[in-house]
Each structure stands twice: as C-alpha cells, then as structure tokens.
Amino acid sequence: MWTFLARRLLQSIIVLIGVTLISFISLQMGGDPTYLFVSENASTEEIQRAREMLGFDRPLYVQYLSYIWNAMQGDFGNSLSYRQPAIEVVLAVMPATIELTFFSLVLAIGLSIPLGIYAALNRGKPVDGGIMTFAMIGQSIPNFWMGIMMILFFGLYLRWFPISGHVPFLEPLFEGDFATAFNNLPRSMYYMIMPAVAVGTYTLARNARLVRSSMLEVLQQDYVRTARSKGISERRVVIHHAMRNAWLPVVTMIGLEFGFLLGGVVVVETVFSYPGIGRLVFNAINQRDIPVVQASVILLAVIFILLNLIVDMIYARLDPRVKL
C-alpha cells in the first residue's frame, strides 16, 4: 500500500511538472508573451518596460524555472482586470464551482447506478431499451444547450427554478459558520439543481451504460451462478455478490468523470451566470486576462490530479487484487 502510494505520488508530481510546462509553452506559442500583458495601445517603451518587469527578456529556461517557482507559491502574477493577485481572484470563486461539480457528480452517479443495474436486470425488455435510448441521447446533448433549454422551459415558462444566482454553502462552512451553512443548504441546492442537471446528464448517461455492461458481465460469472444455485435471494445476489465487482470500473470512471464535469461546469456556469471559476475564465478570456486563465487552469488540474490520486487509493482498498 505505501509503496503504491509513494509511486502514485511521484507520478502525480511528474504530471504536475508536465502541466506547468504545457501552460508555460502555451504562453510562448503566440510569439512574445509581453503583448498579452499590455494594453493594445501601449507605446514601445511601455512594452519594453513591461517585458523587463515581467522577465520575458530572460532566457527561456530561466523564465520557466521562475515560472514554476512562482506557481508553486501560487503566484501567477496580478490579474489584469481585477488588479489583485490572480490566485486570490480564482480562490474566491472556487468554493462555488466545487459545490456545483460535487452536486452534479452525486446526482449523476446516484442516478446512474440504479438505472444501470435496473437496465441490466431487465436486459432486452422495453424498460432496458428505454433507459439505453435515454443514455444514448444523453451522451449526445451539449451540456450548455441543455442549460439553455432548461432556462427556457423550467425557468421562464414554468417558473419552477431560478435561472441564475447562487447561495453559498461551502464558504460559510469554511469560515466555521455551521449554522448559516446548513441553513443555506436547501436553498443552495435549489439554485444549483438546473446547472447540476445540465452538467451531469452526460456523466449520468455514460455511467448508466457502463454500470449496465459491467453488471451484465458480472452476472454471467460462475460465482454469481453459484450464489444463485445456493438459493440466495436475487436481491442479495445482486447487492452482495454481483455489485461488489461491478463497482470497480465505475469507481475508476468517477475519478475521470470529475475532470469532465469540471470542464463541463466551466461552460455551463456561463449559461446560468453562476459565480464560479467558469464564468471567471469566460470573462478572463474576453478581457484577455492571461494570469487569471492560467491560475484557473492550473488550479483545476491540481484538483483533478489530487482527486484521481484519491480514487486510486479507494480502488486499491475496494479490490484487494489491485497492487498497482
């Protein structure tokens, strides 16, 4: 277990270095990166001054080393539009994004497992066909379009759900104000339900299919037949015997899904004017606020890598055969 952990940690560090390298290269690809940091009508002297101040006149490897050194300390430079450290701007909106991502993950996984199992147990019947058709379509809908349609129908036409806004839950929680946090929770979920469904539908559809095929495979195994032949109730066979092994591919997927969901959240947030990292990135793109984009992307990548590390650890615990 410990050697596995150490190796995974080392891998994660290598990946992180790769991530910083990629983001550094992306900065250099458009030519002299100084132009990304000065206003369009800056004079030649101003550009030169900015170049020296930002260190873009130094050799590339020195630039990269200082970039990585600064990034490790969370220093991505000052945001061009907020006039404060980019990382602070990003961290301020992070809790809202984590709330939304987590909520849609719970929603998607929570629904996909029973749907997938139900479809597998009713293989070939109309209900199976129905669930799989739904899953097929769900995998083909752009999440942001789903958001737009929900705003039009559930928000503007039926007036069931709010079409924008956010009630913080994690923020008061982090500040130690538990009463406010839990008071906010129901309203927070109410505001998040439409964006969460929009983000989570793809994951729900994909995982329902995955759970189904994984379950079908396990149900054909000898040990399941043995359990059945011993006269154990079907319910027990499914829950205690089959599901244990059907879990494994699903758990692996959850780690990867989180990354997809984060990517989806970034897009969907802009639809619902949800005050998270997605809207921040969207605005930063339009204002060409490079430090904020860089800080956001790297921070999200770090979260993604950490989560995958955790998922691998859970995986190792769930399946004693896995000694990666």
Binding site: V15, S140, P142, M149, L262, L300
Partner: protein
C-alpha cells in the same frame, strides 16, 4: 517458399489476392446486412447522410446568404415571411440573418472540424503508437508519459488555455482538438503493435528485408485499422461537442463563419426575451449529428467484435 520458382511465387501472390478480394466482398455484405437489421445503425447512417449532403450542398439549399444582415427583419419568429416571397422557416436572429440558412452552413464547420481534427489526432497517434510499440525502450516511455500528462488535464481546459493565446480560428481549433485526441489512438495502436510485432508474417516481412517503414505502415497498420474506426466514430462525436462548447465560449471560428456553437452563443443574449428558436434549432442539429456518430460507433464496435455486444 525458398524453393519456389518466381512463377510459382507469382501464382501464390495472385491466389492470395483473389482470396483477399472475395473475403473483403463477403465482409462488405455482412456489414450491409448487419446495418439493415439493426435499425438504429440505419437511422444513424441516414442522419449522417443528410448532414453530409447539407454540408456539401448547403450554399445551393440555403434560401438566404447566411451573413446577410437585415435590420428590418430582426428576431422574426419561425415561419414568418420576410422580404419578397422568402420565408424565414426557422426565424431570424438579432441581426436579421436567416437561422435556417446559417444552420445549413453550420453543418460544414461541424463536420469539417470533426473529421479534420480526427485526421490530425489519428495521424499523430498512429505514428506515435506504431513507433512506441515497435521500438519499445525509452522512446516508448517518453511517448506514453507525454500521453499520461495530457490525460491528467481535463481536455477542455487545455483547449481553452491554448486557444486564448493562439486566438480563435478554424485551423487553430482543428489543431487543438486534434492534438487533444492523439493519445487515445497512440495507446490502442501501441498495444496492438506490441502483439503483432511477434507474429510470423511480421517476422517474414523483416526476413525479406522490408524497410521498417514498410513493416510499420504496410504490414502492421492494415491489421489494426478496424478498432481505430470505432474510436474514430465516437471521437468525431466528442470533437463536435467540444467545438460547439469552445465556439460557445467565443474561442471557436471567426464570427463571419456561421457555426452551431456560435449561433448558440449569440442566442444567449436573447434568452430572457424568450427567442427560443435561436437556441433550439442549432442545438437539435448538434444533437442529431453527434447521436449519429455515437450510434454508428456502437454499431461498428458490435459488428467488428460481437463479443463486446452490449445489447446481446
């Protein structure tokens, strides 16, 4: 083989070719049959055919110039008659442009980006995978670790980062989306190459003094192309979705090129005034196209490897 006269060798080659042709013909029939019997796949093919047709003949089919603005005809509802005797079948947008015509033109970009990005990613991935699997050693390590790093990144973030610096544009988006896919192909090709490398016919090619290039591309590659088509089909679907998302964020192609994603992006400003047609139709176009590729991918997978069949 060594004792064969050149004539005999020729005869063997001809016989093998004849066999291969008849085998190929048989497989084509099997494909056609399976396509017709699985109704879903037929629906997918039909949608794909329509989208391709529209992408090619869009300019001939479109009643309006997709970029012609007409302030007098702003935000017309679907079916309203416009200037002259032309009807805005799917309504008009905030600049008085015909939604239907823009939709037809948009098919071009979606298909072009989807297919071109897969061509870019597939080519890089196949070469990387072949080299990685055939040579092994440090080259293999470097290529696969590069892939790991890329996979550790939610892809859309990577695309955002590059496109913000490079600026939007058709070529840029194809390159970024293509490069985003290479590792998928590289991994599969590598795994297959590893096992094929030891096969007799590869060894025979080597013994006959074929160049490494010829072994990789003429002997090994044709034998691993089948699983790649499955991945490619799903991938085109994914790439079309990504393109729509990036266009929606304003990172796609320039504004004068109508795309489904950018149409959705523009529709957002008119959401609250309930101009639903601006967002409904481009979205449906995306869904049907992506659905078609997903269905065909499913069918191809079942057809090429019936053991994997999900619906059994």
């Amino acid at each position: 083989m060594a004792n064969n006269t050149p004539d005999q060798g020729e005869a063997i080659v001809q016989a093998t070719n004849a066999n291969a042709t008849s085998y190929r013909r048989k497989e084509m029939w099997r494909a056609l049959e399976s396509l017709v019997t699985s109704r879903w796949a037929l629906v997918g093919m039909l949608i794909l055919f329509i989208v391709t047709f529209v992408a090619i003949f869009g300019p001939q089919l479109a009643p309006f110039d997709p970029n012609r603005q007409n302030i007098m005809m702003r935000l017309l509802e679907p079916g309203e008659a416009g200037a002259g005797d032309l009807t805005y079948w799917l309504g008009s947008d905030q600049l008085g442009r015909d939604v239907f015509s823009r939709l037809l033109y948009g098919a071009r970009v979606s298909l072009l980006v989807g297919v071109a990005a897969i061509a870019v990613g597939g080519t890089i991935g196949i070469i990387a995978g072949l080299v990685s699997g055939y040579y092994g050693g440090w080259i293999d390590d470097v290529i696969m670790r590069l892939g790991d790093i890329q996979l550790a990144f939610p892809f859309i973030l990577l695309a955002i980062m590059f496109l913000v610096v490079l600026g939007p544009g058709l070529v840029n988006i194809i390159l970024v989306l293509g490069i985003g896919q290479w590792i998928t192909y590289a991994r599969i090709v590598r795994a297959q190459t590893l096992s094929l490398r030891e096969k007799e016919y590869v060894e025979a090619a080597r013994a006959m003094g074929d160049s490494t290039f010829s072994i990789l591309f003429r002997t090994i590659l044709p034998n691993i192309i089948a699983p790649l088509t499955v991945i490619a089909s799903f991938n085109v679907a994914g790439v079309i979705l990504s393109e729509a998302a990036l266009s929606f964020l304003g990172l796609g192609v320039p504004p004068d090129v109508p795309t489904w994603g950018s149409m959705l992006s523009e529709s957002r400003d008119h959401l609250l005034s309930n101009k639903w047609w601006m967002s409904l139709f481009p979205g449906l176009a995306i869904i049907f196209t992506v659905l078609a590729f997903n269905i065909i991918g499913d069918w191809l997978r079942d057809f090429l490897d019936p053991r994997l069949k999900e619906n059994g």
